[in-house]
């Protein structure tokens, strides 16, 4: 069974491309032969039922699966045409270019300022206090958090509310000026109002960064993304424009999933 890719996608240039990618945990195949082009200027959503492998595939895009000893990736994933699994590539550089936001907000137990400054410091992106201050302010502004926290930058990042923490994590990710931002169900631990704020933020970041978001919520995918890929049982079933996937799915399984027949 092959992935159905809608024909009208050919117009977009690919930031990241996966070719025949399979991911294994030990002997278990979690992702089976996925090929996809992730566009530069759009938000791409991965949807699918629990355990379909969408998070696993997302984590293979910045090699976070490397931290799991039994995980193994086959096939080729490129960033701007460069194979990210090549032995010559420095994973540290890769992750600076492909940032990630996790399911549960995970700010460091440091001050809000230090949370943002962490990445620029380790990558040497800012020289001196003034430049660092500017990066922190710019990142917080972009994440829509500046007005809320500008008077308490020295407070602990863990003291913020869940939604603020998640925006802090997004600000932290954009502080190193990545090209791609991966979001692994960024709203699943948040209430509806905080979720709306994150979605608004994703809209604002759209165009500046290539964004890939994994989500359980089909409404969320429909609201924030322009491209949608549907995963099922480790395979990518269908990939196309979000509007097409939700209104004109080609595959029966996609149709069943988005109409709520399973998942």
């Amino acid at each position: 069974m092959v992935t159905v890719v809608h024909p009208n996608l050919s117009d977009t240039d690919a930031k990241m491309s996966a070719r025949d990618v399979s991911v294994f945990y030990g002997d278990k195949k979690a992702i089976d032969d996925v090929s996809i082009d992730i566009p530069t200027k759009y938000v791409t959503a991965f949807i699918g039922p629990s355990g379909c492998g969408k998070s696993t595939f997302l984590r293979s895009l910045n090699r976070m699966n490397d931290t799991i000893p039994s995980a193994r990736v086959e096939g080729e994933i490129t960033l701007d045409g460069e194979n990210i699994y090549s032995p010559k590539l420095d994973v540290v550089q890769l992750r600076a270019r492909v940032g990630m936001v996790f399911q549960k907000p995970n700010p460091f137990p440091k001050s809000i300022y230090e949370n943002i400054a962490y990445g620029p410091k380790i990558h040497g992106l800012a020289e001196g206090k003034d430049e660092l201050d500017a990066v922190v302010e710019k990142s917080l502004r972009r994440a829509g958090l500046w007005e809320e926290v500008k008077d308490r930058l020295q407070d602990s990042g863990t003291a913020l509310s869940g939604g603020q923490q998640q925006r802090l994590c997004i600000a932290r990710a954009i502080a190193v000026d990545p090209e791609v931002i991966l979001m692994d169900e960024p709203c699943s631990a948040l209430d509806p109002i905080a979720t709306a704020k994150i979605e608004e933020l994703i809209d604002e970041l759209n165009g500046r960064y290539a964004i890939v978001i994994v989500t359980h919520s089909m409404q969320q995918a429909a609201r924030v993304s322009q491209r949608t890929a549907f995963f099922h049982l480790g395979k990518m079933v269908e990939y196309g424009r979000t509007s097409d996937i939700f209104t004109n799915p080609i595959e029966q399984r996609t149709q069943d999933y988005i109409t709520g027949r399973y998942g």
Binding site: N62, T67, Q93, R95, N106, P107, F108, K110, H123, V176
Partner: protein, 461 residues
């Protein structure tokens, strides 16, 4: 012996109460229309059993504390008591002898006067024995009957039992606190006696240590009681040399084991490291005295330090450091491993290396555990005696040269208490003053460490 009888009696009665209450609860249960009780029958049983056993245990504890005094009073009321010497050692010896014969612990008396007290003792002992047994029975029955009468189908026995259990747990934790307090008070008492003979100024700031247990206790030579060399030796060996060895090695091994080692290696190395903590310190002492100390001396001589002694602070400190590596590494290991994976992922996803992640995220978050491990290690090193005796000698010496022999507070405490001096001699009492200062210093260290951790920790909750 009577104590054993009382305890067995209490447990037997408790068992009886348990069985009776359970049987009664079962009759409630059978009688109730839906076969349900407010609490399970076993809770009814425990309720009654606890009401029997606990009051009895409290009584036994009190009784065993006051009964000997009552017995002695009864004996002293006997007509023969007039012949006893009025005070002190001899009077006590005679009474003890009579008591030993009366309880069957000794065959006959040495002092003829003691023979007259054997019979009064025997009578008093048996009288108070009976009183104890009767009161025990009385308390057990009263408690048991009170509890038993309260049993009803809707009696909330479970909640009561939970409350009693909570009280027992509270009492258990109080034991540790009260013991510490008791130790402290006894230390203070003897320390005050010592400071009555030697001024605290001379003791705390004097630089010569060499108490003479044979000297006249009435007029001690205060200049021989300067404890600075001991405090310095303790600090130098236990807190400086040993920590220079233990903190880096312990921390680095913890970091390697939690972050880099593969699980199979970790499964081997971690227990192997923890075995170090189980080696008796006297064995470390051998090693330090027979292998390390001579090696250090030879090495120092080859470098041109002709004065190097075969007993050195360095040898003791090094071995002590090795001994406490597991304290540091085990606690650090646990607390680093307890930092959530999300923190590690967050840092790695920012493009940080494992090394940066450890330094900037994991160690700050694990700091309380790491500092706790180091504090434990320091207390352990400061309290260590055997290694110092064997490798660093018992001669007090105020010097910053690690190749010289030195001694520590604990070594001198042992030396003073096991010496020939009598118990009210200042040389012996100085052991308590040393212990008191050691106690205060470790207390202060712990307090400061707690504050420091509170100030700098990065809590991830």
């Amino acid at each position: 012996m009577s104590l054993t009888i009382l305890l067995l009696l209490a447990l037997g009665l408790g068992l009886a109460g348990w069985l009776a209450a359970r049987a009664r609860a079962w009759t409630f249960r059978r009688a109730s229309p839906d076969g349900r009780l407010a609490s399970l029958p076993s809770y009814h049983a425990w309720y009654v059993a606890l009401w029997i056993v606990l009051p009895v245990l409290i009584f036994v504890a009190v009784w065993s504390a006051i009964a000997p005094g009552l017995v002695t009073q009864a004996v002293l009321a006997s007509p023969a008591a007039d012949q006893l010497p009025a005070f002190g050692f001899q009077r006590q010896t005679i009474l003890n002898e009579a008591r030993a014969v009366a309880t069957g612990a000794a065959q006959g008396v040495f002092n003829p006067l003691a023979a007259e007290f054997v019979e009064p003792y025997r009578q008093a002992l048996s009288r108070y024995n009976w009183i104890g047994i009767i009161v025990t029975l009385l308390i057990a029955f009263l408690g048991g009957i009170y509890a038993f009468l309260r049993l009803k189908p809707d009696f909330a026995a479970r909640n009561r039992v939970e409350k009693i259990v909570m009280a027992i747990l509270l009492a258990a934790s109080l034991v540790a606190i009260l013991t510490t307090l008791g130790i402290f008070v006894s230390l203070v008492f003897e320390t005050v006696r010592f400071f009555g003979m030697v001024s605290p100024i001379d003791f705390l700031f004097g630089t010569h240590w060499g108490p003479d247990p044979m000297a006249n206790p009435e007029n001690p030579d205060a200049s021989r009681y300067g404890a600075i060399p001991l405090f310095w030796g303790t600090l130098f060996i236990g807190a400086i040399i040993a920590m220079i060895v233990a903190i880096p090695l312990g921390l680095m091994s913890a970091i390697y084991l939690t972050q880099y080692a593969n699980p199979r290696l970790r499964a081997w190395v971690k227990p192997a490291l923890e075995i170090l903590a189980g080696v008796p310190t006297v064995v470390y002492g051998y090693f330090a005295a027979l292998t390390i100390a001579p090696a250090i001396r030879d090495f120092a001589i080859s470098l041109g330090f002709s004065s190097a002694s075969s007993e050195s602070a360095l040898a003791a400190g090094l071995i002590m450091g090795v001994m406490i590596i597991p304290f540091v590494s085990s606690m650090a290991d646990d607390s680093i491993a307890a930092v959530p994976q999300a923190m590690r992922d967050g840092s790695l996803a920012m493009g940080a290396t494992t090394n940066e992640t450890i330094r900037r995220v994991l160690i700050p978050a694990a700091l309380p555990g790491i500092v706790a491990g180091i504090m434990l290690a320091i207390s352990r090193a400061i309290g260590e005696t055997m290694i110092v005796v064997m490798a660093a000698s018992t001669a007090a010496n105020l010097s910053a040269n690690p190749l010289e022999s030195m001694t520590t507070v604990t070594v001198q405490i042992v030396a003073m208490l096991t010496g020939e001096g009598s118990f009210d001699h200042p040389a012996t009492l100085s052991a308590f003053a040393l212990g008191f200062v050691l106690f205060m210093v470790t207390l202060a260290l712990n307090f400061i460490a707690l504050r420091v951790v509170k100030r700098f920790r990065e809590a991830y909750e």
